[in-house]
Symmetry: C2
Subunit: 228 residues, 2 copies
DNA sequence: AGATGTTTGTGAACGCACGCACAAAGTCGC
DNA sequence: GCGACTTTGTGCGTGCGTTCACAAACATCT
């Protein structure tokens, strides 16, 4: 029954990174009225191999029934709990350009265990606007807002030049988890967790593979040099 | 020494994923007038360990000078070339909600080896609008646009419900690299490369670690369980 | 020129993650 | 109740990625 304390201690990072995808797949299935799935089926929907899925889930505990499969509701609830989505984390978003705008209105946030409690920007043109049912506040009030709402996770969607300063202010008032969309490396003290998402990076990785594909067709042709 | 043909064949995926960050760091340094860096300095700016950086770069060839370091311009140009950024890949973006809007106006795309050649949407309200200096076209013309511009990379920023259909149409007209922002798994034939970015996923991974932190605080009190 | 100092490039050891294959554990039919 | 079938959970081998540590290679100073 209570295998949690032992199992929960060390969930591999690679597994953690896949849990949200499993949860999304399970939510899909639940929405379609599916009550039970095998690891094979769920793996297909989630885009992984069944063996990997089973090993991942085994790190959370034993929530399947041999010979039957997993109960969708039960497993979804368990993953949800492990990810801490029951806690409705208060999130603050700084920087409301198009990207911040997208994040604020992203239904995935509100519906998946998060609660955007504050939108902040530096531009007086943007401050005061209503976005996703909220009034954009001034970044000057960052400390007050974070403390007041007990913000645990800070989202940075500012230009790279402002990112470090915003991050420092987040950290100074106790935020220990930061999601950074600015194309720069943030330096933070030990114990603060930063995840970075760079849209251009993803494209560049794709471009690398794309080039390899076209290269293997042309095979060993000299590239043209660029003269400055 | 031309070590390229041998070295270029197998660049580890993990290394490829870091190359864009190195390139960004080098561009930063070049902009600040730095001409030469050691692996230690560059690693700090890029947020990795120097040993890892050196091993990564060694997969591209030998572009450093022992006892001195790397020439910023030379290394940047080399990574740029390996990533295929000299080719100005034509990119098409489908789905111009706030996220698609953000992608279209993202300066990182235009300035880093990409050329957004088409914006497409299904909503008649959005078709015809001007975004980032381009007129949004109808998704009905997807095949024509892709073929006409020789689009190699397709970006999907639609709702999940439409993503697979758009993907299929991309693939049908020869696109082999897809960047998917929709929260769903795309199924594609062998040889087509898909990268997925899900904004909610990143938050959930952060939440997991955040929960672990707060748990370890609460559980530090009942260290000893009552045993029978 | 030789000695000294610095930094790269890499062989080797280690650790993590993935896939395989199978025993364990359950269901179902009779 | 028992055998056949299904599916989970996992021990193990393998391969990849990271880190360490050092020799090779270059610059600089005397």
């Amino acid at each position: 029954m209570i295998a949690d304390p032992a199992a929960r201690r060390d969930v591999p990072d690679a597994t953690v990174a896949r849990l949200p995808e499993y949860l999304r797949a399970l939510t899909d299935l639940a929405g379609r009225g599916v009550a039970s799935v095998s690891s094979e089926e769920l793996a297909t929907v989630a885009g992984v191999r069944s063996a990997k899925l089973r090993k991942d889930l085994s790190h959370l505990g034993s929530y399947g029934v041999r010979g039957v499969g997993y109960e969708v509701e039960v497993l979804a609830h368990e993953i949800s709990r492990q990810l801490g989505l029951a806690q409705n984390w208060p999130v603050a978003i700084v920087g409301l350009g198009y990207l911040g705008h997208a994040l604020a209105t992203y239904s995935g946030f509100a519906n998946r265990g998060y609660h955007v409690v504050a939108l902040l920007d530096r531009d007086p043109e943007i401050v005061g606007q209503e976005i996703a049912g909220m009034i954009v506040g001034s970044v000057d009030d960052l400390e007050q807002v974070v403390t007041g709402h007990g913000v645990a996770i800070g989202v940075i969607a500012t230009p790279a030049a402002s990112a470090q300063e915003v991050c420092d202010r987040f950290v100074a008032v106790g935020v220990r988890s930061v999601l950074n969309f600015a194309p720069c490396v943030l330096s933070v003290p030990q114990g603060v967790h930063v995840r970075k998402v760079d849209l251009a990076t993803e494209l560049q990785i794709l471009a690398f593979h794309e080039q390899r594909k076209t290269e293997s067709v042309r095979e060993s042709r000299p590239l043209l040099e660029v003269s400055p």
